[in-house]
């Protein structure tokens, strides 16, 4: 450094500096590797700047304007945010998404892990069962919605027929205020193939001798699950919880599709946050207002993720770190 500064002042400096630099970069494999590495990942860097960095800051900017997609955007300060917190539909849709997430997340975690545990049993024909368990999650989402609306059709659906046979009440499911969200949760529980397969891979990675030693010590099946299986697969649980959480926060497609089958719908009980955002942005062109909603969505999910990662230090066990 010092040398560079001094040579810069001398009249012959430009030549020497340039030549040492060039030689330096040729000699330095680190510099070369850096340039090569950046060159290879440059498509992603361009994509990141264009599809994440730019829209992220633009969303924040728009959220302080009355932008409507056509005219110029005027700065209106916090007006959008103030309006947001006085908007009953904002609160309803936020609550609905919260409701769905809080119920669906634990249920789907238990169900996917349960399915994986079933598949991890030592029985013949496991591959066949695995195929059957997995198939619902490759059914196109829109087709799944069609099937469930039909199964749970209030008047002609097979589910209500079976309930009547069992002398149980036959509700309106997707079309009732009380049961619409639970219906969506059932639909969500049908397509858990992805987390199930990830759990299964996690279960198969637990060393067998751990269980054998524990069994020799007389540990019950429950204790083996609680003190061996759960800690060993806790990183996988964290991974799956995060994946499911992202899906829950952005819950949209199913609600949007099923409302197409019944435009009247059960009022606002199936009005999810992202749906409201979509409507404000693309039907009413209130892009400033919906940008405020989008930024709020980002803040909420960032806060949840940070809390989750912080808490994970306490309940996630990384076997490799201990060795």
């Amino acid at each position: 450094m010092q040398v560079d500064v001094q040579t810069n002042k001398s009249p012959t400096a430009p030549l020497t500096v340039a030549s040492t630099r060039r030689r330096g970069s040729l000699r330095s494999p680190h510099r070369r590797a850096l340039r090569l590495g950046l060159l290879f990942v440059s498509p992603w860097i361009a994509g990141f700047l264009l599809f994440f960095a730019y829209p992220f800051f633009a969303t924040i900017y728009y959220s302080f304007t009355d932008f409507n997609g056509v005219g110029a955007a005027h700065w209106i300060g916090f007006t959008n945010y103030v309006n947001l917190f006085h908007d009953p539909l904002f609160k309803t849709s936020l609550f609905n998404t919260f409701y769905y997430t809080v119920i669906e997340l634990p249920l789907s975690t238990v169900a996917a892990l349960g399915l994986a545990l079933l598949l991890n049993m030592n029985v013949r024909g496991r591959a066949v069962y695995r195929t059957i368990f997995y198939i619902p999650s490759i059914v196109p989402l829109v087709a799944s919605c069609m099937i469930f609306v039909w199964l749970f059709n209030p008047a002609f659906g097979i589910v209500n027929d079976l309930l009547i046979d069992a002398h149980l009440p036959s509700p309106d499911w997707f079309f009732s205020v009380a049961l619409s969200k639970p219906s969506f949760i059932l639909l969500g529980l049908w397509g858990l193939g992805q987390p199930m397969v990830i759990y299964l891979a996690g279960l198969q990675g637990v060393p067998r001798d751990m269980y054998e030693v524990a069994a020799l010590d007389g540990a019950s099946a429950w204790k083996r699950f609680r003190y061996i299986t759960l800690p060993m697969i806790s990183p996988v649980i964290l991974f799956n919880v995060i994946l499911q959480l992202v899906l829950c926060i952005s819950y949209f497609t199913q609600a949007q599709v099923i409302e197409a089958a019944d435009p009247g719908g059960p009022g606002t009980s199936t009005w999810f946050y992202v749906q409201y955002l979509y409507e404000q942005a693309f039907l009413f062109l209130k892009l400033g207002y919906s940008s405020a909603m989008a930024f709020f969505l980002f803040v909420i999910s960032a806060v949840i993720m940070v809390v989750l990662f912080r808490s994970s230090a306490r309940w996630v066990y990384y076997a490799n770190e201990q060795q």
């Binding site: 992603w44 069609m146 992202v246 952005s250 599709v257 892009l287 969505l297």
Partner: protein
């Protein structure tokens, strides 16, 4: 004497209980698809019978040709295939380059950038959508698939990059070193040595991208507004909204959209399951 026979009957009993549980769950999970196919083979009055008719008699196959001609179903399929075809090229090219840079070359800041890339998975799609939509609108790209295709050429498929990186890391460094000694540059090593070895991983990437496009609803909903260009997902949505009084047609459409993907799954199961499992193994640390 607790003989081996009593132990083996207990084992048999345990195995029976296991199979009973597995079969019960299979029936529960399989029933919706079974009912979908059965309904698609009924006449409309049969489908609306109360109590429901379990078995269609006779089987009505004409729901399929009728539904296929009532809506431009094949056009929807064609659009979907085009969408999938172009984005598969984009994902294969960009994700393999990026994955190579994130695995086979050591450089400062690599791992931090990689974590940033994985972190983008946590950002909700709608949190960044509005400026993107406005941008594409200003470039007159809204209405066709370009907004959904361009990102795939710029490494937008984090899953594919992740999967290819895992695969590249497992290839011994000595192969690259040998080529370097022979004077090959990094791009030659990438295209002549590493990429040909990664064919199984690329097959997985292609498979997942295809299924992603076949099922993608939100992307086309935002950017495609002309029915002529609808992909299958929007087409199905249209059918559901139009024929709510004709459930056999709706179920025929659902079956027609689901069957190819299930057939594909049967033939590619191993690739498929491995591809998903890799995600879970890569999360340590």
């Amino acid at each position: 004497m607790p003989t081996s026979s009593s132990r083996s009957t207990r084992r048999l009993g345990g195995s029976l209980a296991k199979h009973a549980t597995l079969i019960a769950v299979s029936v529960l999970l399989g029933f919706p698809l079974f009912w979908m196919v059965l309904t698609s083979l009924k006449t409309n009055p049969q489908s609306l019978a109360v109590p429901p008719l379990w078995w269609p008699h006779p089987f009505v196959w004409r729901n399929y040709p009728e539904m296929l001609s009532a809506v431009p179903f094949w056009r929807f399929v064609l659009n979907t295939l085009m969408y999938a075809g172009v984005t598969i090229v984009g994902v294969c090219v960009s994700s393999s380059l990026v994955a190579y840079g994130f695995s086979r070359i050591r450089w400062r800041g690599r791992d931090i950038l990689f974590q940033v890339m994985v972190g983008t998975l946590l950002i909700p799609f709608f949190a960044t959508l509005i400026p993107l939509f406005t941008m594409y609108k200003n470039f007159h790209m809204v209405g066709w698939y370009l907004p959904l295709m361009i990102p795939t050429f710029l490494g937008s498929s984090v899953f594919s990059t992740f999967l290819l990186r895992q695969f590249f890391m497992a290839i011994p460094e000595s192969l690259s070193d040998a080529a370097r000694v022979d004077g090959a540059n990094e791009f030659t090593i990438f295209s002549r040595i590493i990429l040909p070895m990664a064919k199984p991983a690329l097959a997985t990437v292609i498979l997942f991208q295809f299924i992603y496009c076949w099922n993608d609803f939100i992307g086309p909903l935002i950017y495609i507004n002309n029915q002529v260009w609808y992909p299958l997902s929007l087409g199905l949505n249209l059918i559901l909204g139009t024929y709510t009084t004709n459930w056999p047609w709706v179920m025929a459409a659902a079956t027609a959209a689901t069957a190819p993907i299930i057939v594909l799954f049967f033939f590619t199961q191993r690739t498929f399951i491995k591809g998903i499992s890799i995600q879970g193994t890569g999360v340590k640390g």
